[in-house]
């Protein structure tokens, strides 16, 4: 994954998060698409790229949401770094492994984010557990859908094309 692709995917994730999610989910599902992108980028490109992706995307998210600029940047940097280390040290190749990493990253990110805000005295969440769980599940689901779109669909398209080519060749030989 090249750097400009990461930037493009992050921009698309931010736009989808702000414009489309609100319409599709009626504003009720707390999905963090940017976190999903950070986690997958860190898994594929390692801790340094994960750290930078987390920093840049988090700061952009802070700027757009009106919170204190730097909080999301800090939390997503940490997540990008940790997931990058996990991806480098362990074999995280199947979708289930990646899903487990995404779930853990989502839970840790929410706790870290709420923790920093609690330290700053800017946010007092009343139902932390439900927020953490709902968000982890939402992020995992959106991660599965994203993974399906990014990996499974192109592979399926390639298979169909390959079969079609074989059929055309067979017909050409038979005919």
């Amino acid at each position: 994954m090249k750097n400009w692709v990461i930037v493009l995917v992050l921009a698309v994730a931010l736009l989808v998060q702000t414009v489309m999610i609100r319409v599709v989910a009626d504003g009720a599902v707390p999905v963090d698409l940017v976190l999903v992108v950070v986690v997958f980028t860190a898994l594929f490109r390692g801790p340094v790229v994960g750290l930078w992706t987390g920093t840049v995307s988090g700061i952009f998210q802070d700027v757009l949401s009106g919170g204190i600029v730097g909080v999301s940047g800090l939390t997503k940097s940490v997540i990008g770094l940790l997931v990058g280390i996990v991806g480098a040290e362990f074999v995280v190749s199947t979708i289930w492994h990646r899903l487990a990493v995404l779930l853990a990253a989502s839970v840790f990110h929410t706790l870290l984010f709420l923790g920093v805000h609690s330290l700053l005295g800017t946010m007092m969440p009343t139902s932390v557990i439900s927020l953490v769980l709902v968000q982890a599940v939402s992020n995992a689901l959106s991660g599965i859908i994203s993974a399906a779109l990014v990996w499974i669909v192109p592979v399926a398209v390639r298979r169909v094309r390959h079969r079609r080519t074989l059929l055309v060749r067979r017909n050409w030989i038979m005919g």
Partner: protein, 280 residues
């Protein structure tokens, strides 16, 4: 080894940078940096384009669907218009009588609010805050802390310096939002604050000795200097004595915040107005 050391230095630099960035804002209070205004403006334009494209697609689709039942709908509408014309005449007669009564009771006329209508072009970039982006900015007269209203009640306020053609609105149900409020029935004042997902709004600083019932209507008091007085906030859905001096009061908001598409932004320079109690 050198690679690992470089990563450690990098992490330390990034974390330190963030801590300095956060500390600067916490000490200096809310300000808008060049980076912030540039990023917000840039993304607002992209969001505006994407929202327009989305609206066009949904508009074409809904028009196609609507065409299929147009004949039946037309007949129903003709009947409805006839009924409404009759109702309108009745309402006009009632309004004329109300105006007379109002003059008779020497009610003060509220100062006319100057507003611009704005379209919601984006939601929040994170799942933690409840903000919206609207397509009106300083060019249209929007200023920081301007009240944002809807026909059914208060939406929130503009947070941060608005962009040229877009502004960020903090909804009243955001955890960090608050508004001066009072009970319409008893005129007792308090502060309405944003809650969590289950209880969207709560009212604080209302004494345990106050007379509060489920179903009481809460309106803005105007004491915060942001929201004009007398606009709907919500209805009490739960009340019980609190552990301290104050009642534990939760509210149902008057608005469905998740489906907001059009809002009104006050642009009159923050004039605080008083509405008639019956005039909402």
């Amino acid at each position: 080894m050198a690679q690992r050391q470089r990563i450690v230095y990098l992490v330390l630099a990034v974390v330190l940078g963030h801590v300095i960035l956060i500390s600067a804002q916490v000490n200096a209070g809310p300000r808008t940096s060049v980076l912030e205004s540039f990023t917000f403006g840039l993304f607002a334009e992209m969001q505006r384009v994407l929202t327009s494209a989305r609206d066009t697609v949904t508009g074409v689709w809904s028009r196609y669907v609507q065409l299929r039942d147009l004949q039946t709908e037309n007949e129903i509408l003709v009947g409805a218009v006839a009924d409404l014309e009759y109702q309108l005449q009745e309402e006009r007669a009632l309004a004329r009588r109300s105006v007379g009564l109002q003059k008779l009771l020497e009610f003060r006329e509220g100062v006319e609010l100057s507003t611009v209508s704005a379209r919601v072009i984006a939601g929040d970039a994170t799942p933690y805050f409840r903000t919206l982006t609207v397509d009106r900015g300083t060019v249209d007269g929007v200023y920081a802390d301007a009240a944002v209203l809807a026909p059914k009640g208060v939406v929130g306020r503009v947070v941060g310096m608005p962009g040229r053609r877009a502004s960020r609105v903090q909804l009243l149900i955001d955890r960090n939002a608050a508004a001066g409020a009072r009970f319409e029935r008893t005129r007792t004042t308090g502060v309405v604050m944003g809650g969590d997902d289950e209880n969207l709004l709560r009212m604080e600083y209302v004494s345990n000795f106050e007379d509060v019932y489920v179903g009481d209507r809460i309106v803005t008091s105007g004491t915060d200097g942001i929201y004009p007085s007398g606009f709907n906030i919500g209805i009490v859905n739960h009340v019980q004595p609190g552990s301290g001096l104050y009642l534990d009061i939760r509210l149902d908001p008057m608005l469905e915040f998740s489906t907001l598409e059009e809002v009104l932004v006050v642009v009159s320079g923050g004039a605080i107005v008083t509405m008639n109690r019956e005039g909402e």
